[in-house]
């Protein structure tokens, strides 16, 4: 879309010393990396938002107002994100969204809380589309934060539900990245497997340094010698790609249960060795049947953006729920919208979703899928795509977790 124009207008507004600008459009600030090593994932998310906004606008906009996505580059840096947040607030933007990097999300949640507390007549709402640290809907929860992606614990609930039905899996190896997210995944896996299939033995529980390991063959070797039947990993980015590559090179044939096996660039890097072995737990993949309109939308999206795969279905869910909340509340004031969103139920083509009132976490059905060669829609032009496993659909209620959230609600 006219990103240059968006960027240019954002820049012009930022460079003036004027006070806040009055906006007649409904602006949503997209704060994610748009330069640096993670620019591609930031760009991917942005395109989904822009398309979703266009869809909403074609249908009369939200609350009668035109939706505009204003991108801000945070270079995947928590501090820079705070600077961009200020810029957004100064431009009169009251809704922000972010997803890449729980560390950034953590900084934003804090900053939004503080800002809303110190400036109660200029509140800001944070719509999180991908940062999955469970803490954000537990100890770190905030009234002003809503999460539209299942958190790491919920994804593990779904995965272990599927795992519970697999009789032939007796030994599981857990491998993750050594930081808060990887640790959360490992802890959740251990806890939930103990609960649902105490007979499964966890033959290895290992954390490796984040984005440092170039050669995963020692890990693969350890996995093999422990007589593993399945591997659970939350790895993403190069750590995911190299792990699967190494496993393929070593001729390993066991399933890998992942969160981000279908993430940007992963399938391309993994190649044929991943077919039949790599499974992912997501709320969506392209070969799910959502009806004709949905398929048409996916095809149109891919045409619009030069073959970029339709991946973040939850972004569209987010936009639809936002629209509904504005309509219910009859205003675009973040406090009213938040109250409307809290506890909202919404129908999507894949089932009903619900935004929990107690911790602002969206509950939606999750799907375990496997990479296959025989698919209608492939990923990144590789000829491989994901197919839902036979018992792969996990209902939203099954993924719900206990929460320790006690959020401060504005009076």
């Amino acid at each position: 879309m006219k990103r240059t124009a968006l960027l240019a207008s954002a820049a012009v507004l930022a460079m003036t010393f004027a006070g806040t600008a009055y906006s007649e459009t409904l602006k949503i600030a997209y704060i994610d990396p748009l330069s640096g090593s993670f620019a591609n994932v930031g760009d991917q998310g942005l395109k989904h938002f822009v398309y979703a906004a266009d869809l909403a606008n074609a249908d009369g906009g939200i609350g009668g107002m035109e939706v505009e996505i204003v991108p801000f580059d945070n270079k995947l840096n928590p501090k820079e994100s705070l600077v961009q947040l200020q810029k957004a607030i100064d431009q009169g933007i009251r809704f922000i969204t972010q997803g890449n990097g729980s560390s950034v999300a953590s900084a934003l949640i804090d900053a939004v809380e503080k800002h809303n507390r110190r400036n109660p007549d200029e509140t800001v709402l944070f719509l999180n589309y991908a940062a999955v640290d469970p803490a954000f809907t537990n100890d770190r929860c905030s009234f002003w934060h809503f999460r539209f992606d299942a958190d790491a614990d919920m994804k593990m609930e779904a995965l272990t539900d599927w795992l519970a039905d697999q009789e032939d899996i007796k030994n599981v190896y857990i491998l993750g990245q050594n930081y808060s997210f990887g640790k959360a995944v490992a802890a959740a896996a251990v806890r939930m497997i103990e609960e649902k299939r105490p007979d499964i033995e966890i033959v290895g529980n290992e954390l490796h340094p984040l984005a440092q390991v170039k050669d995963f063959s020692p890990y693969v070797q350890k996995i093999m010698s422990a007589d593993t039947d399945a591997v659970i990993t939350g790895n993403w980015g190069p750590d995911m790609q190299l792990l699967i590559k190494a496993a393929g090179d070593a001729g390993q044939d066991i399933p890998y249960l992942t969160y981000y096996g279908g993430g940007l660039g992963a399938v391309t890097a993994m190649g044929e060795s991943a077919v039949g072995r790599v499974k992912q737990i997501t709320e969506f993949h392209e070969n799910m049947d959502g009806g004709e309109a949905h398929t048409a939308r996916m095809t149109d999206f891919e045409d619009e953006f030069g073959g970029l795969d339709y991946y973040y279905h939850r972004v569209f869910t987010l936009m639809e729920m936002l629209e509904k909340a504005v309509e219910e509340a009859g205003s675009t004031d973040p406090l009213d919208v938040a109250n409307a969103l809290s506890g909202m139920e919404h129908e999507t083509v894949f089932g009903t979703v619900k935004m929990r009132e107690d911790n602002h976490q969206l509950i939606q059905p999750m799907f375990v899928s496997t990479l296959s060669a025989d698919v209608e829609r492939d990923v990144e032009g590789t000829g491989f795509g994901f197919i839902t496993d036979p018992d792969g659909r996990i209902e939203g209620e099954q993924t719900m977790t206990e929460t320790t959230c006690s959020m401060r609600r504005p009076s």
């Binding site: 090593s37 490796h208 170039k214 093999m224 010698s225 790609q241 190299l242 070593a250 660039g265 391309t268």
Partner: protein
């Protein structure tokens, strides 16, 4: 036992890859006093060139052609960039290569995009060569071993047996004297810089499909290569070789060791639930090269086999 054998094999191969990278850097550093921060960037360029050339002509032509192109590029950079900065001193040269590293990464992103590119092992080499304790060992790794050893041998012959090699050796330890003797030292510098970058490019050609080829690959492997060169010492290729193998083995073995600090230091009362105690050797594996670096610089600044101080 299996872990040991695997780690030995993998560690040696990784170490040889490091050596391919660091040999060029040692040559450049020893002769010109320039610590080429952009050295890993030439490694990256080699991988990308191989990917692009290989897409049309196949892997084998790329294996030959890409390093030559990278060497030419290096020579141009030296002639028109580095030489100009040389008059401003070592710090300026270092900073020039520092800026160059940033620049190359951005240019690579513009030309080839921000994503990883599917630079794959050629089909002819993509098969398991033998079985080791039940897991396949890919033939490509052995190929890497062969290429590295061949390169080492060729470099050795070049340096010890040819006239140019003798001059280069002399310039490695006594650059000023060589100039006094009437040899065209700037031209030798250009040649050596080119060869050094060509070696890095070759490392990229065979390493790029073993690891992932993406714009961040230079920044990932860069610091380790410096550590190798500094540990190995000034003016010593053998030192660089030993240091590379040492580091390759250290990193590979460390990753495989799960012993926690509590298990090692339990006798002085370090509990297994404390943060320090729960740390395993594999968790600190990325820190080990830098610990080694700092130790060597404090204890023996000329490196393992360095012939002169910096």
């Amino acid at each position: 036992m299996e872990t040991v054998v695997f780690s030995l094999l993998n560690g040696t191969i990784y170490g040889l890859l490091l050596f391919m990278l660091s040999s060029g850097l040692t040559l450049i550093f020893s002769m010109m006093g320039v610590l080429n921060f952009a050295h890993a960037s030439f490694y990256m360029i080699g991988a990308y060139f191989a990917y692009t050339i290989g897409a049309t002509t196949g892997f084998w032509v790329a294996l030959f052609l890409a390093p030559i192109l990278v060497a030419a590029l290096g020579a141009i950079v030296e002639r028109y960039g580095l030489r100009k900065v040389h008059t401003n001193g070592h710090v300026a040269e270092l900073l020039f290569t520092f800026g160059l590293a940033y620049l190359i990464e951005e240019i690579v992103k513009i030309i080839w995009g921000k994503f990883a590119v599917p630079y794959r092992v050629p089909d002819a080499l993509d098969f398991p060569l033998f079985q080791l304790y039940g897991t396949d060992y890919p033939a490509y790794r052995i190929f890497m071993l062969v290429v590295s050893v061949t390169m080492l041998a060729v470099l050795f012959v070049l340096l010890k047996k040819t006239r140019t090699g003798l001059i280069i050796q002399a310039a490695l330890t006594h650059p000023h004297m060589v100039g006094h003797l009437g040899h065209n030292v700037p031209q030798i510098f250009m040649l050596v810089f080119g060869i050094g970058c060509g070696l890095a490019g070759l490392a990229g050609v065979i390493g790029g499909n073993y690891l992932v080829t993406e714009p961040g690959m230079a920044f990932n492997i860069g610091p380790i290569v410096f550590v190798v060169v500094v540990i190995g010492g000034m003016g010593s290729l053998m030192g660089a070789f030993i240091a590379s193998i040492l580091l390759g083995l250290t990193q590979t073995f460390a990753v495989a060791i799960d012993t926690t600090f509590a298990q090692i230091f339990g006798f002085i009362g370090l509990g297994p639930t404390t943060e320090l105690g729960a740390l395993s050797i594999s968790a600190i594996a990325p820190m080990l090269p830098f610990i080694l670096l700092v130790l060597i610089l404090m204890v023996r600044p000329r490196g393992l086999l360095g012939e002169r101080e910096f």
